[in-house]
Amino acid sequence: MNAPEKAPAPASIDLGAEFRDAGIGEVLESLDRDLVGLAPVKRRVREIAALLLVDRVRQRLGLATEHPSLHMSFTGNPGTGKTTVAMRMAEILHRLGYCRRGHVVAVTRDDLVGQYIGHTAPKTKDVLKRAMGGVLFIDEAYYLYRPENEKDYGQEAIEILLQVMENQRDDLVVILAGYAERMERFFESNPGMKSRIAHHVDFPDYSNDELGEIAQRMLAGWNYRFDDAARRAFDEYIVLRRRHPHFANARSVRNALDRMRLRQALRLFEAGGLVDADSLTTITEADVRASRHFLPTDTA
C-alpha cells in the first residue's frame, strides 16, 4: 500500500492525470483490444478500476475511505476467459497500488485441501503465503465445500481462507472462479464467503462470430492463418461443435486448432517435396473439414 501522504491535502486533483500516471489506461486498453467480446466483463473491470482510482484520489484529498474489499468471484462457463481476465485484474490492482506484487497464484482444491487430519492447514497457509502481495485465483472454488462428506477437510481450508480474506485484505486479493450455478450454491452454503466478496463478475458465453475471431487471433499468434474457404468451414465447425457436449468456448477452439495443425503437418509431410513459408502457415479447408464433427454418421 502507498503510505498516506503527509503533505497538506491539495484542494483538487486532476483525475485524468491521476489515471494516466497510474498507467491503468494501457491495461484497460489492452484488455479491450486483446480480448474478443466479453463486453459486460470489460465494463465491470472498468467500473472496478474507476472505483479504486477515485478511492485513491479521495484518500489523497483527506476524505475518509474504508480500504475497499477487493475479493471477487468470476462466474461463467469453461473457456470464457476467467483466468486471462484475472491476470489483467492483478495488473490493474498492482498499478493502482492495491496489490504490492501483482502476481497471480492459480490453485484448485488439490492445492488447498490435504489428505489427512492436520494436513490441510499447513497446505492452505503455504498457498496463502505464496499468494501474499498478489492475487489468489481459486478455480472451481465450489469443490472446496463437499456437504455430502462431513469429514471432508475442505471446510477447514474455507475457514482459514475466510480469516485471511477478512484480516489481511491489503495483503491478498482472492478471486473465486467457476460455473455460475454451482458457485451460487457454494455461496448459499457458505454465507460468510458470499458476504466477503464485493464484486461478482459474470462471464457470458462467446457468440459464434466471436469464436471465429478468437480462432483467427490464436492462429495469428502462432504464425498460422486460414485461407478463405477454411475460414468459412471453421465457422460451420463452430456451429456443429457447439451442439456437442463438453463445449468449452475458447478452449474448444484452441483444441480444434491444435488438431487442425496436426492434420496440416501430416498433409504436408505426406505430400513430400518442397514447402515454402506460405504452405507452412496456411490451414486449408481440408484440414478443417477432416474434423469428426463434419462426419454425417457422427450424430451423438
Binding site: 506484487r101 496463502l128 503465503k129 502481495g133 495483503d171 491478498l172
Partner: protein, 141 residues
C-alpha cells in the same frame, strides 16, 4: 550483554517495517527465507530450532511476517532469527541471517578458565542464562 550475531546486530533492533524491507530484499534475490528460534544463544550453537519449513516461492514479505508473528507469540523471551538461503549452484548456503527478536534481559556469558598442564589456561564461555535453568525456562522472567 547484548548478543551480536549475524547481520545488523550492532544496530538498534530492527522495526517490523525494516524487517519486512530486508525480507523483501531477500525475496528479490530469490532466496528462501526461514525462521529459527533458540534459548541457547552460544555463538557456537548453530543448531537453532526451526519454525516450520523454509519458505520457498514467496513473492511478498507478508507471508514471512505472519509466521514471525506466530513464532513470537509461541516463543516469547527467546532469540528468533531469519535466515535467507541461496539455492543458486555454487552458493547453496545461507547468505543472510539476522536476529529479529531477543529476550528482554540478556545476562551474557561468563569466561571460564581451566588450568591445564604447566601454567597454560583453557578458556571457555558459558551463558549465565543457559546454566541457570533448563531449556524453555531460561529467559522467562
Amino acid at each position: 550483554m547484548r548478543i551480536t550475531q549475524g547481520c545488523f546486530s550492532f544496530l538498534p533492533d530492527l522495526t517490523d517495517t525494516q524487517i519486512a524491507a530486508q525480507i523483501n530484499y531477500c525475496l528479490d534475490q530469490n532466496w528462501a527465507v526461514a525462521l529459527e528460534f533458540t534459548d541457547d544463544p552460544h555463538p557456537r550453537n548453530t543448531y537453532w530450532n526451526m519454525w516450520g519449513l523454509p519458505m520457498f516461492d514467496l513473492r511478498d514479505p507478508a507471508g514471512v511476517m505472519g509466521e514471525l508473528k506466530a513464532c513470537r507469540e509461541a516463543n516469547p523471551e527467546t532469540y528468533i532469527r531469519i535466515n535467507a538461503f541461496d539455492s543458486t549452484k555454487g552458493w547453496e548456503t545461507v547468505r543472510m541471517s539476522f536476529i529479529v527478536q531477543r529476550p528482554t534481559a540478556e545476562p551474557g556469558f561468563r569466561l571460564t578458565r581451566q588450568e591445564t598442564k604447566g601454567r597454560s589456561l583453557r578458556y571457555t564461555m558459558e551463558s549465565y542464562a543457559v546454566g541457570r535453568n533448563p531449556e524453555g525456562a531460561r529467559y522467562a522472567s
